[in-house]
Symmetry: C2
Subunit: 417 residues, 2 copies
């Protein structure tokens, strides 16, 4: 039976991943350096490809904020190249002895970190994700198969060519980095079931994409990035601080997953807090969608919230507001409606703070700090390939360590059991 | 919409898991002690339930080796109770600070181990798995929903009753341990898609069960226990040692996943090794299925191997044999046909040993020792809930540590980004 194009890519990726597993840190870092240098040297041809994508996007009526995500500039390309050089400076996550010892029968057992093998990524239109994913995989000795959005296909194709030629120049198999050119539903569906070649599949994008991958994939998946995040303002909160945190978590960058979509307010402070919060958010024209009590307090400027609003990741200047009677009720609301990403309590009450961090089921729980800190860089992982919202394998920001597995190596002299 | 029975079990498990998350180690260990004591005190009623299962199994014509897996005796119950007390003595895997520090902005960030939440197990007819799974979950603060095989349903139901009454006696919610009584295909299919309540699903059993779960589950799965394992006898091998290792790995317990199903032999030593190996395996009437060269050397006593034989987990006194031309060819064969469980090279050649452990893609790779050592006890994890053959989350034997995730706890005093 003839192989499909994707199976053939998988076969080549698997083969390339074998040579990566045994590759020295130095060789990998030289390849990363070559990628950075080539990106800079080829900036003009990359920008030319990006211009074609941008023209098509404008013709297709893409929204300005999405256009901004698609756009590359010379400055952005240089920033990408800098981040590639930063990844090269990370310690090598592969080949570390995680534990080990000598068994009573004399066998030497050690647990050693190894690459996952071949990583599949399905993502949307941001060109930098193409490079970020490829270099984090390379650093962790994984081959990767990347499938981006069709809006960025010309840019991504050019970035792939540039990276592959850099790999060849550094003596690393070019098939360590492969881009899927056939951006059809079929190619996504086939990737989700490419168990023979893919060791893991990481979807990065909107809730619809993530759901579709979780529903349909037989390849092991790491869910990332859906963030229906909350700030809970406790009865004992420093209301000035709560205001600063809500404002920062909502408006500093509304389109990212660690931005909040909801604020829960204890009834005892709602009358005082709501006008303060509204005043701060009005500076960014944030639309409020509130429960009946919120509407009663703030009046007509608040849109009555529908039940769906509490389950929606707006990624926009919109905030759902709900008044609750206790920290317990806030925790229950969060565990029911949250996506397990980042959750915050603002409080001066010790017991409530401890209860919140213990009972809220999320990758990152905050006391008196903005949810916007959930980020690989902020948590000391260097760059990140995504933020996991599941509990298996990795939770929260995933860096190069999270792209590894381990194996047990047992050396004996004839031991039997 | 009315909840199904399984949804209702899921809801109760989720609720019980919340109280487990904050439970002290001492309380959990007391509950484990109560379970052990109850199992011993109720031995007679458990044996009575088991007798009914055994009678039905005999009537249904179950094979003697499967009957032996289903059978409980007083001695076996006492052994199970002892292993429960052993689990109680393990260190608590939950609440450990895995890393942490103070960020430049003064926020205190720590990464703390937490339970997975609710663990679903789908397994077959071994009654001890019911208890092992439940107590390992309890130790790691996870609630569990167990679905065993219908052949053991009376035994499993009685074991569940005994364990739940012990939990109640110790002041722990009984719903931490729940058994699915409806052993239909429907209940298995529903469990595989119970994402709202199950945090992970662990299938334990034959290749067919595992495949079905991987194909159909939307809940994150940890694949376990399919072991198509190999011993490769290198040209430089100590042939006496190779003989001992092959014999032990095949015949000491053929029905388990770390037993070998294949032996690969370097051509240079095949003429000398095959008769030695046959003589040892003849003592256990092991059937050999060989490649044409093997048949030529050993003659008619060898059945010609079909291509499927190299992909079959016999779990029986059957061994597939193949002669290869190099360590490289052996490694390629193993990476193509193995299931990523346990693989062994017998060699005196340093370079081949290093190449084998580096290039063979499996949970455990052995030099000069039997694959039968792949086991939670042998690797120092205490008891095990299964042996993972995937690379995400956990690989190889999984103990209580592997039943945990982690969360980031961030404490600040108003930091914004």
């Amino acid at each position: 039976m003839a192989m499909t194009q994707l199976q053939e890519m998988g076969r080549r990726a698997k083969e390339a991943s074998r040579s990566l597993g045994a590759m020295s840190s130095q060789r990998k870092n030289e390849a990363l350096g070559a990628i950075a240098a080539r990106l800079e040297a080829e900036a003009e041809s990359i920008l030319e490809a990006n211009r074609l994508d941008m023209e098509a996007a404008k013709l297709a009526g893409m929204s300005p904020s999405l256009q901004d995500r698609l756009l590359l500039t010379e400055e952005r390309i240089y920033a990408i190249a800098r981040s590639v050089r930063e990844v090269a400076r990370f310690p090598d996550p592969v080949g570390k002895v995680l534990s080990g010892g000598v068994n009573p029968n004399g066998m030497r057992v050690r647990k050693v970190s190894v690459p996952l093998g071949v990583v599949g990524m399905i993502f949307e239109a941001r060109p930098n994700v193409t490079v970020d994913s490829a270099v984090l995989c390379l650093k962790s000795s994984n081959a990767c198969i990347l499938r981006g959005g069709k809006e960025a296909i010309r840019t991504a194709t050019r970035l792939e060519e540039v990276m592959r030629s850099a790999l060849e120049q550094a003596g690393v198999p070019a098939d360590c980095i492969q881009l899927v050119k056939d951006i059809s539903r079929n190619s996504a569906a086939e990737m989700m079931r490419l168990n023979q070649y893919l060791d893991v599949l990481i979807p990065r994008g909107g809730a619809g994409l993530i759901r579709s991958v979780v529903e349909n994939a037989t390849v092991p998946v790491i869910e990332t990035g859906t963030g229906n995040c909350h700030v809970y303002v406790d009865a004992s909160a420093d209301l000035e601080m709560a205001c600063r945190i809500v404002d920062n978590a909502k408006t500093s960058r509304p389109s990212v997953c660690n931005a909040i979509e909801n604020v829960l307010i204890h009834r005892d402070v709602a009358e005082m807090f709501l006008p303060m919060m509204k005043k701060a958010l009005d500076q960014h024209q944030v639309q409020l969608r509130g429960c009946p009590e919120t509407v009663r307090i703030l009046g007509d400027c608040v849109i009555p919230a529908s039940p769906e609003d509490y389950d929606t990741e707006f990624l926009d200047y919109i905030l759902a507001v709900k008044i609750v009677g206790s920290a317990k009720e806030a925790i229950e609301h969060i565990n029911l409606h949250g996506t397990g990403h980042s959750e915050c309590i603002v409080t001066r009450d010790y017991e409530n703070s401890q209860r919140f961090v213990s009972e809220v089921d999320a990758a990152a729980v905050y006391v008196n700090a903005s949810t916007r800190f959930t980020d690989g860089g902020e948590f000391g992982l260097g760059a990140e390939i995504g933020i996991s919202t599941q509990k298996l394998h990795a939770r929260g920001p995933m860096g190069v360590e999270e792209l590894t597995s381990y194996k047990y190596i047992v050396e004996g002299d004839g031991q039997i059991r």
